[in-house]
């Protein structure tokens, strides 16, 4: 059956958005089905994100906009799946799109209807903490920005219908059936927050001042119910003492869910930190069992929360809450370290609720015929982390396991990577390319400016006197035509604009309407369709900057609109056509590192037909996985590895360089050139390639602690694992002590290695299996078996593995007396305990190969973090990319991670890489920085500030009358330049010009402003 070059992505949260963008950028038609009225998911509700405290909507909104205006993405809001049939590569899917009671294509999102609607409805986006109109948009940054009518609340009064200038409202509109033909399906339906109502002991729903963490998140948000003011529900007073109760509905076999929700420890800390930042008088306390800060730079965040913000952590779970009737304060009881039970009173209690399967998961699984796991999440396997049980249907994000945003983004890209493999032959079949007329040469014409001013219904026109502004604009120099439109963005206005350009021979166009962020590309495309260079366009935001901020001062709003337009006209007359360059792409990939990550990425690319160079520094492939036998879930790693290596070595498109060393890397996205020496004879090769994937991994920490290496009874987990799986030594042992966090979470390595807890538990379980009578004691600081790994922690406890916690400041001590090893551990609750084991197993973490990473980072010009792991472009939303285009990151080179996560990230890296490799050519932006070379003194300050590595210094010879000299000159690569302007601001000689934001243009604008005012 023919493969279809289209993909259905179900779920418009960050996972669905990322998958959609990745696939749409790689030449597929995407249908993004979202059950609510806007994409954005739970992330859009969050106030900030850990560990950087970035504003969530601020970093998400650009992605929403990108999705909304991507020509290959159709967003199907308010829709759900009915039926699917077919096979991988060719599915037929039926969806139902529930009616919004207005025409989505006509609604411009102006919002007038909501202002006039007399009926209040509950604002679910604000977690029911506030109300909104019965006709509303989900949240202000919603994409698509269309309103919808809450049919339960609407009384059908007709006010909105009467007032809507776009005539979008139609109460009679019915649900619509949509039939799609797609090659693959990606499930990204996310999760539901655990509802703590059944847990009567916490009084949620009964005590007003007990709220959930997602409610608290909305309270923290500046766009939330109290505009960011932290006040408690009962009386609107600022709660000075806030208790956060972790693991609500998680890690609880009896009530709630057995697994760990993976994110609560971190988001609770974030909420506590942000609360403290909002109001310093707030004193947050977090009640928790383990602090599971297992992600990249998470432990540092916890340390900051403790040290800088004074957040108090108490390692206790609270069993019940009592409300004090008069004050509505809340009393909790807990045991202190010394075994004393005390009570403490809090003004507000936040229940850190976990994740549970989406309520629609079961129904969807039935319709799609996919299996769920024992917890009701989508079933996946370790080695195929984004594949469901049904071929051709992929999963990503929290629907597979509870996880945080970066891992969700990684999996979303991974799902795209797997779809790529399935559908690569159908790439570019369903995306259409516009045929454009040749560009007109207007460079020697005097400016003829046309201005189109938008009423936006009455969104602008209701405040700004638009006709008056039009008349004013007509008097400005170089303006030959001006008009006003009800909606400048509507399809018929685009036709109108094109006619007016031709009729009046316009060579510069200005639109005064809303924000260029959402609409500039549309208008640029419009003027390009009649042959005008798209950079001969200027946009003025008279909605946000005039009618919105001055909504009660119409005269001032009108005056300001005139000012802004006068400035814009002054700038427009200075605009020149800018050319975009086309750069050819070498469709070959270079992958650095031949471990599981590197090999997975290589196979992904090769199976789409791309040549791959795989660089391995050692003499065999496999990396750190060669020392591993089974996963925690008992998957056979050695067998998997054997197959993987076989597939790599049998693949004609993959060229493996073993014993290889990279000598130099030059070039840029699409056109890299790398020199490697390889093999026993140190042969040399120059490789040309379009992308680079960094998969160099990490290495096991070699401990200096605990007499390691001097006594055969003291070994690492890796050695122990080898003994367990290849010998029967363990049969002869009576007792084992495992020490966690050896060389992790200390001053030298202030991060958690993430995998060691699971490794220890895996080996403990295996040892118990071989020798059930063996006594195993695990000495730990926090057991970080996140997600479904919690099951094995429980199992270990069930199998009588003993866990003893120690404090960071008092690590276990080793004593060897009369040839007997003795370990003394200081438990915070119990005091000193002495153990005499036969074997001590050290759980050593993963560390970055510092020297190798530093050398490679220098060659790639990419950054490392403090711990010398590679630093991605953005820790939350760009976990696979570097700021430098064309270079990607996967596996433990990014931060320690397990096999499942490494495989996901390498498929994600392949998905990012394919965006470039599958493009015939790359088109640079016209809005880039350029250097006027003769004024450049080669100081290099531009190079230092460019975060995209677009600038380098090139040595040039300069000859003058009586002598010559060599001097450095700045050179900006347009393929890498993002036109951000940082270099221009930095250049001491003002010799870097940012196209369209040059001195003349900005000066013209300022002059125009000052002259009249």
């Amino acid at each position: 059956m023919e493969k279809i070059g289209a993909v259905l992505v179900i779920g418009g949260g960050i996972a669905g958005i990322q998958s959609s963008i990745d696939l749409a950028d790689s030449g597929y038609k995407i249908y993004l089905a979202e059950s609510t009225t806007s994409i954005g998911g739970v992330m859009s509700q969050l106030d900030k994100t850990f560990p950087t405290n970035d504003c969530a909507i601020c970093i998400l909104a650009p992605k929403l906009v990108e999705t909304g205006r991507h020509e290959n993405i159709d967003i199907l809001i308010n829709s759900s799946i009915e039926k699917i049939e077919g096979e991988p590569g060719n599915f037929k899917v039926d969806l139902i799109q529930r009616t919004l009671r207005l025409d989505q294509n006509k609604c411009t999102g102006c919002g007038l209807c909501a202002q006039q609607c007399p009926i209040e409805a509950i604002d679910f986006f604000n977690e029911k903490l506030s109300n909104k109109a019965a006709i509303s948009v989900k949240f202000p940054q919603a994409v698509p920005l269309v309103f919808s009518i809450d049919k339960d609340k609407c009384i059908g009064c007709g006010i909105c219908k009467g007032i809507c200038k776009a005539k979008a409202i139609d109460y009679e509109l019915q649900n619509k059936e949509i039939n799609l033909n797609v090659g693959a399906v990606v499930l990204a339906i996310g999760f539901d927050e655990y509802d703590p109502t059944p847990l009567k002991q916490f009084g949620y729903g009964k005590y007003l001042n007990v709220i959930t963490s997602i409610e608290f998140e909305r309270i923290l948000s500046a766009s939330g119910p109290h505009s960011g003011l932290i006040i408690r529900p009962s009386d609107g007073i600022i709660p000075k003492k806030i208790a956060f109760l972790n693991c609500i509905g998680s890690r609880d076999r009896k009530q709630g869910n057995n697994y760990c929700s993976s994110v609560c420890c971190m988001y609770t800390t974030k909420e506590a930190v942000i609360a403290k930042e909002h109001m310093n008088i707030i004193d947050p306390t977090i009640f928790t069992m383990d602090i599971r800060a297992y992600g990249k730079d998470f432990d540092k965040y916890i340390e900051r929360a403790k040290d800088e913000y004074g957040i108090r952590y108490i390692r206790r779970r609270i069993s019940s809450i009592k409300e004090i009737p008069d004050s509505k304060n809340l009393k909790v009881y807990y045991e202190t370290g010394k075994g004393k039970i005390i009570e403490e009173i809090f003004n507000l209690v936040v229940l850190s609720v976990g994740m549970q399967p989406n309520q629609k998961a079961k129904e969807l699984a039935q319709k799609l015929n996919i299996q769920l796991n024992e917890y009701g999440f989508c079933k996946t396997d370790t080695f195929t982390p984004v594949e469901t049980s049904r071929p051709g249907i992929y999963v990503c994000g929290a629907f597979a396991t509870p996880k945080d945003i970066p891992e969700t983004v990684i999996e979303a890209s991974a799902a795209a990577g797997c779809v790529n493999v399935l559908l690569s032959e159908a790439r570019n079949k369903l995306v259409t390319k516009k045929e454009l007329p040749e560009e007109l040469d207007v460079s020697d014409q005097p400016p003829r400016i046309g201005v189109f001013i938008c009423h936006c219904g009455i969104n602008i026109g209701g405040v700004v006197d638009v006709p008056n502004v039009v008349e004013y604009v007509k008097t400005l120099p170089d303006v030959v035509y001006a008009e006003h439109n009800l909606y400048t963005c509507s399809a018929d206005t685009q036709t109108n604009i094109k006619e007016k350009i031709e009729k009046n021979q316009l060579n510069r166009v200005i639109v005064a309407s809303c924000t260029p962020r959402t609409h500039e590309a549309l208008f640029q495309a419009t003027i390009r369709e009649v042959g005008l260079n798209k950079y001969l366009f200027e946009m003025v935001n008279i909605r946000d900057q005039c009618s919105w901020v001055h909504m009660h001062e119409p005269e001032k709003a009108t005056a300001k609109s005139k000012d802004l337009l006068r400035m814009s006209v002054a700038k427009a007359s200075q605009l020149i056509p800018l050319q975009e360059q086309e750069i050819a792409v070498i469709d070959k990939g270079l992958i650095i590192g031949g471990g599981v990550s590197g090999m997975s990425a290589a196979l992904n690319l090769a199976s789409q037909g791309y040549d791959v160079y795989l660089i391995e520094k050692e003499d065999s492939l496999g990396g750190i996985a060669r020392n591993l036998y089974r996963t925690l879930e008992n998957d056979n790693i050695q067998e998997y590895l054997k197959n993987l290596i076989k597939n790599i070595e049998n693949n004609q498109l993959i060229q493996v360089f073993k014993n290889a060393q990279i000598n130099s890397i030059s070039g840029y996205i699409g056109n890299f050139s790398t020199n490697v020496s390889y093999g026993n004879n140190n042969k040399s090769a120059d490789l040309d390639h379009g992308i680079i994937v960094v998969a160099t991994g990490a290495k096991e920490y070699q401990p200096k602690e605990y007499n390691f290496g001097q006594d055969p009874r003291i070994i690492t987990q890796t050695q122990f694992e080898k003994d367990l799986f290849t010998t029967d030594k363990v049969k002869g042992l009576k007792s084992i002590v495992m020490v966690q966090c050896v060389g992790s979470r200390n001053e030298d390595h202030p991060y958690c290695s993430r995998i060691c807890c699971s490794e220890a538990i895996k080996n403990a379980l295996k040892a118990k299996e071989i020798n059930p009578n063996i006594e195993i004691v695990i000495l730990y600081r926090d057991i970080r078996t996140y997600g479904f790994k919690e099951k094995y922690y429980n199992l270990a406890r069930d199998k009588k593995v003993i866990f003893v916690r120690f404090d960071e400041t008092k690590p276990p001590e080793l004593k060897i007396k009369n040839k007997q090893v003795k370990i003394i551990v200081n438990n915070p609750d119990l005091g000193k305990i002495e153990i005499n084991p036969d074997l001590i197993v050290l759980s050593t973490g993963l560390v970055a190969p510092i020297k190798e990473n530093e050398e490679l980072a220098k060659m790639l010009k990419v950054p490392l973090n403090e711990d010398k792991f590679f630093l991605e472009a953005h820790v939350k939303l760009r976990p696979i990319d570097f700021a430098t285009d064309g270079i990607y990151l996967c596996g433990s080179a990014h931060s320690p991670k397990d096999l499942r996560e490494s495989i996901a990230q390498s498929n994600g890296a392949a998905a990012q890489a394919v965006k470039i490799l599958s493009a015939e050519k790359l088109v640079t932006s016209g809005l880039v920085a350029v250097v006027i070379e003769e004024n450049c003194i080669g100081c290099g300050s531009c190079v230092e500030v460019c975060q995209f590595n677009a600038i380098e210094l090139i040595e040039k010879e300069r000859t003058f009358e009586d002598f010559s000299m060599r001097t450095m000159k700045s050179h900006i690569n347009p393929a890498l330049c993002k036109g951000c302007g940082t270099c221009g601001a930095q250049c001491p000689n003002s010799t870097i010009i940012i196209k369209h934001f040059g001195f003349e243009q900005i000066n013209a604008m300022i002059s125009a402003l000052l002259v009249q005012s």
Partner: protein, 425 residues
Amino acid sequence: MNFIVEIERSKKAKLEADDFDSYLRKIYEPDLTNLLKKCYQCARCSGVCQISKVQKFTPSRIIQMILEGFEDEIINSQVLWDCLMCNSCLQHCPKDINFADIVRIARYKMRVKDIQNPDRSIAHKGIYPLMSEMMSQDNMEIERPLDWIPKSCTTSDKGNILYYVGCLPFFNYEFEDSLSIAESTLKIICQLEKDPVVVLKDEICCGHDLYWGQAKFESFIELAKKNIKRFEETGATTIVTACAECYRTFKIDYPTLFEDFKKKFEVKHIIEYIFDKWKQGKVQFKNPNKSHEVIPFTYHDPCRLSRFLPKDNKIIEEVREIFNNLKIIGYNFKEMEHNKENSYCCGVNSWMNCNERSKALRYKRLLEAKAVGTKMITSCPKCRMHLNCLKKDYDNFSSIEILDFSEFLVDLIKIIEPNQTIEEN
């Protein structure tokens, strides 16, 4: 219409009410031909012009065109923004035509033209001239940090002798170690003075760069007025500075505007100050290092202390007399090929036109320095900064240490009659 010109117009309007024209007349001659009539057209100026070695620029042609009535063409061509104002031409002019002064006046004319704006070719984004302009404003409250003052120095806001620091504390943000010039200079003065030395907390710019570089005469006049008022309030009679530009400005340009400035204040460059103390027997030179290694060093004459002073100025020789005397303590002074009045330019004047051509001039200068010494002393903070900037780019110049006069001497000076109230460092 240019908004900068707009702002200046309003500023000028304000000054006009305040007999601006009477001041302007002293520093501005509207008819350039008047200043040029005596020109022989021998074209010696073009032969020695330093910028002409790296770009097309011929003073004689420019003068000829102005004399032949094409002044407007010259003004409109904006070519005069390129002049280094190093005054090399004046040294060789048989008729003493002060070309730099003509450029200064022409720049004012160019600036008043709406379309001409040099601001974008001011290096470092024009921040330093902008700061000078801001300081000329009436409503500006200036408060400078004085935490750089060495602990051993006692300063005051009243007293007989004033140390005028200049831009150094501002430079220090962008050009490291600039303040060490101020520290060294103040240390030297304080060791020699019985009474506290005046260092103004609200010191403002002398206006040199606005006068020569950007031709903002309005602001210059304002700065001069404000400075004189401040100086008077301190009761000081002597002003010492370590800056060649401040020195020239106080020595020549302030008295042009205000005849009695000379009577009120004696202006000394730190070179003169030390020279005088040395001659009075209050200072000796001593090498604190016991090493017997002889250090060859050279001196870069800043234009403001050589070509921009009257012929009878002694600084050029005084500094050499001091330097030659250092031979006995192990410092061997050697001249560069181009020295004294023929000294090469550092390549930039008043922040104007830093580019590859001015870089080439600096390169040539450092080649000369490298040929004769391992230390290059100068007495202009900007020369030091510009030459150091170039040095950083070339490994082959790493052997040269570029120092200010005060930095160089601060450790070599021995006070014969030490001030008892000041502790030894």
